[in-house]
């Protein structure tokens, strides 16, 4: 539909940390294009003076007290870890420094 290009799809995939094969990219160009074009419908509405719904409920100031509560024990913390040494969660070496 020309609405979204292959480059756009590739850029969005890198932002979203997804790696797409070429045929998936092609499929998404079409599907996303159709969906985004449908979403353009919203431009029919004049919303210049409308406040956005930033929060679903009209509530403010929900807080908790500064009280320490129980933490997980190490066993629970690492229960689902794909890789750990019992002290740290392990990932392939992070090359670029913080």
């Amino acid at each position: 539909m020309g609405k979204i290009t292959r480059e756009d799809v590739a850029y969005v995939a890198s932002l979203a940390q997804l790696s797409l094969t070429p045929d998936v990219q092609d499929r998404l160009v079409k599907e996303m294009g159709d969906i985004l074009q449908y979403m353009d419908k919203l431009n029919e509405l004049d919303t210049a003076n409308i406040e956005p719904t930033i929060h679903a409920l009209a509530m403010t100031n929900v807080f908790r007290d500064d009280v320490v509560g129980p933490s997980l024990d190490r066993e629970q913390a690492f229960m689902n870890a794909p890789k750990s040494d019992g002290e740290y969660f392990l990932v392939p070496k992070i090359l670029d420094t913080e």
């Binding site: 929060h55 007290d65 500064d66 933490s71 913390a77 070496k93 670029d96």
Partner: protein, 477 residues
């Protein structure tokens, strides 16, 4: 070509609340890795954040101390990016509606006051800590630090030298320390500074291309890094090169900044309002409550100390450098000590003792009242200053009152004229040579004779009286 440096500083401060900002895990720094963690700060499925009220209180207090406007309505936002130290792969922060904005700080630089604008103070959560020394081709991640509360304090680009930056950071740290909201320890990471640095031709309004210098571990490191970066940019421009907008790290060993262009060169953070948290509405009553809890700030106290106690700017500066010392000083004066003497003892002998023993002044066993008593005992000639110098370490060590220690150790100085006369006569009798020297015009011999009297009385003789009596005796003949 004259270049003017233009510097803005971004400081991240870890708040010293008991629990984290969005969960109730402890913020205790010394815990074993991954023991202050829960499903929320681990970013597990199904969790939700709940805001710690004490964090908002601290943020408002810091904002007020920096003369900011506290926003009546602000919200949290999600800052989206992927990194292993970010468990949800988004950070809950504040984007377009920070809690505090539009303030300023008055900073003394080489005797002149500079006003540095504060763009904003906002709340966000800290990330986890990456550990690179695991071995086996892996990095380790410790989530104890994840979700620790941070305040981000951003200055306007009103800073124009490394020295000014250093003074700004010192003043900022001092205020935070007075407010007791953070340990402000750069080595431990509870205070982090990043500098945005650019240069422009002197007199020009337009801003140059800036670089961001990160990863500096101390204030002096920041000073050096900024100086280096200013020089580097100046050299580059003079050689006709362009400055690249990038992040640079500081290598303290080689004393240089180096490029840290990461894989994600363009950070599209896709900010949007955090739907799991509700807005923060601050009314005047809340601001008043915080204002009422605020201590007198460093600069105000510095000026008051000069005016109220007649202290010199130097003395006032040293005494107000920490809130602990300032409080200690005032309590000592309130307990009856003359300000100048109190100042001298605190800045001199007491501070030296505390430094040696690595104790903070708030933890000093010798209370202000006891110090005041000690000074009183000098003033009424019960002990000499010299004796007091020996007494003070005992007071700090044991926490005993000076009077009790004096009695215990028999340190009352000898002011009995008769006893002193005896001692003087004995010394004169035992030292014919020096006596003759003195009478023959050698003034130094007098000091020797005084020393002998002090020795004979085990240091307890009242030095003033010894002087008088010795003078009298030696001039008789």
């Amino acid at each position: 070509m004259e270049y003017e440096p233009v510097i803005g500083l971004e400081v991240h401060v870890e708040l010293n609340t008991r629990s984290k900002v969005f969960c109730s895990c402890s913020t205790n720094f010394h815990a074993e890795p991954n023991t202050n963690v829960c499903p929320i700060c681990l970013g597990m499925p199904g969790v939700l954040p709940v805001m710690n009220r004490a964090v908002v209180d601290a943020a408002i207090m810091v904002g007020l101390a920096m003369n900011c406007t506290v926003s009546k309505w602000s919200k949290m936002d999600r800052k989206n990016y992927f990194y292993p130290d970010l468990p949800k792969n988004y950070q809950i922060s504040q984007y377009d509606l920070p809690l505090c904005y539009g303030g300023h700080l008055e900073v003394a630089v080489d005797g002149r006051l500079h006003r540095i604008g504060i763009t904003r103070v906002h709340i966000e959560e800290d990330t986890a800590r990456n550990v690179h020394t695991i071995g086996g081709g892996d990095s380790g991640i410790d989530f104890n630090r994840s979700t620790i509360p941070l305040l981000e304090i951003v200055s306007e680009p009103d800073i124009h030298s490394a020295q000014e930056a250093f003074c700004y950071l010192t003043a900022l740290k001092q205020i935070l320390q007075y407010l007791k909201v953070s340990d402000c320890n750069m080595e431990e990471g509870s205070l982090r500074a990043e500098a945005n640095i650019s240069i422009r031709p002197a007199g020009s309004e337009k801003l140059g291309v800036k670089t961001e210098v990160k990863n500096v571990a101390s204030f002096s490191g920041t000073f050096k890094a900024i100086e280096y970066e200013i020089a580097r940019q100046t050299r580059a421009l003079e050689a006709g090169e362009k400055i690249v907008q990038e992040t640079r790290g500081w290598d303290a060993d080689r004393a240089i900044t180096f490029s840290q262009r990461t894989k994600e060169s363009a950070h599209d953070y896709r900010y949007f309002p955090e739907p799991d948290l509700v807005p923060i509405a601050v009314d005047d009553a809340w601001i008043d409550r915080i204002q009422a809890r605020m201590p007198e700030l460093p600069r105000a106290r510095f000026l008051r100390f000069q005016e109220q106690y007649g202290l010199s700017p130097y003395d006032a500066g040293v005494l107000t450098s920490t809130i602990g010392m300032a409080n200690y000083f005032e309590e000592t004066v309130d307990a009856g000590a003359p300000p100048k003497q109190a100042a001298n003892w605190i800045m001199g002998d007491l501070q030296a003792l505390l430094t040696e023993r690595k104790i903070g002044i708030e933890d000093c066993n010798a209370s202000p009242r006891k110090l005041a008593d000690m000074i009183g005992l000098i003033d009424n000639d019960t002990i000499s200053g010299k004796i007091a110098k020996e007494l003070l370490p005992e007071m700090v060590e044991t926490g005993l009152a000076p009077k009790a220690l004096i009695d215990q150790k028999g340190l009352v100085q000898i002011s009995d004229e008769t006893a002193l006369l005896d001692a003087v006569r004995l010394v004169i009798g035992a030292n014919p040579g020096p006596v003759a020297d003195y009478r023959g015009g050698k003034k130094q011999a007098f000091g020797f004779l005084v020393g002998q009297v002090m020795k004979a009385t085990k240091g307890k003789a009242n030095p003033k009286l010894v002087n008088e009596i010795l003078q009298r005796e030696l001039s008789r003949e």
